[in-house]
Symmetry: C2
Subunit: 146 residues, 2 copies
Amino acid sequence: MSTEDSSEATELWLLWKRAHETVRSAVVADMTAASGLSEAELSVLVCLYESGGVLRQNAIAADLGWDRTRLSHQLTRMEKRDYVTRDKVANGVEVALRPEGRRTIEAAGPSLDASTRRHLLDRLGPDDAAALKAIVERLLSSDSSR
Amino acid sequence: MSTEDSSEATELWLLWKRAHETVRSAVVADMTAASGLSEAELSVLVCLYESGGVLRQNAIAADLGWDRTRLSHQLTRMEKRDYVTRDKVANGVEVALRPEGRRTIEAAGPSLDASTRRHLLDRLGPDDAAALKAIVERLLSSDSSR
DNA sequence: AGTCCTCTGTTGACATATCAACACCGCCCT
DNA sequence: AGGGCGGTGTTGATATGTCAACAGAGGACT
């Protein structure tokens, strides 16, 4: 860095982005090696799995902070891979985890834990980890667009 | 959220990703409206601009945490839009900001400041902002892959 | 009934990201 | 010289994300 022209807000945003990108690429590389899942597939599968295996499409989008279009395309791809099914239901679409998807996400879980611990949790001390968690939770709860 | 199966590390990572995605989509929407720049173009232009307008391709990739391929494709697109030029130089390629790129990033700066302040800085208190900054800086400085 | 909303999801065109393979250059080594 | 080797960048195929336009269901209003 040299001229340092950004405002405080922009500077924080750029730093945050860079840190996020760094951790993300490391974790994604691990996950691709361990399970063959892409980041997007993993996000959707985790979301479904943690909610018991069935969710409205809309709920997934809200949960991940994705837009409708992106999720729609992603689910189309995941249907082809037998990870999920879609069923029309009153005023929406219900997405359900299929056995292949469940098997895959269950197999990927431990790798994900190890990877996130190595690239994120262990690099922060316990104090920073707790602080970061509190901060992102506050950020999410103050989000007007959800 | 319901069953809560993730480890502490995975849970923190998912929360962080979601918060990042939320802020990102809001900022990107603002920037697209204000300047027509995509997130990727903005990142590269900011990086170049803050370094005085000329950087080795490799340095940009390191600075942004991107991989070579991604940056190469991105620069190809940005050359077509007259934002930057590429020149072969001893052991690498030098990327330079062109007038069109400089003009665009200078015009976008204030919008970016306003947007990041609104969607990030103002949602954190001053304390949280300082804490987040310290955390990401520590994360970045402990990164072994750079 | 009809019309007008809003919410939800889809589609196709296009922008962007990723992966594997390749090309080039400078350096070290013998 | 000749032969590896690591660092740097490119290319094309493919996967993924974004945008604008559309489709359909249901609710509110007259």
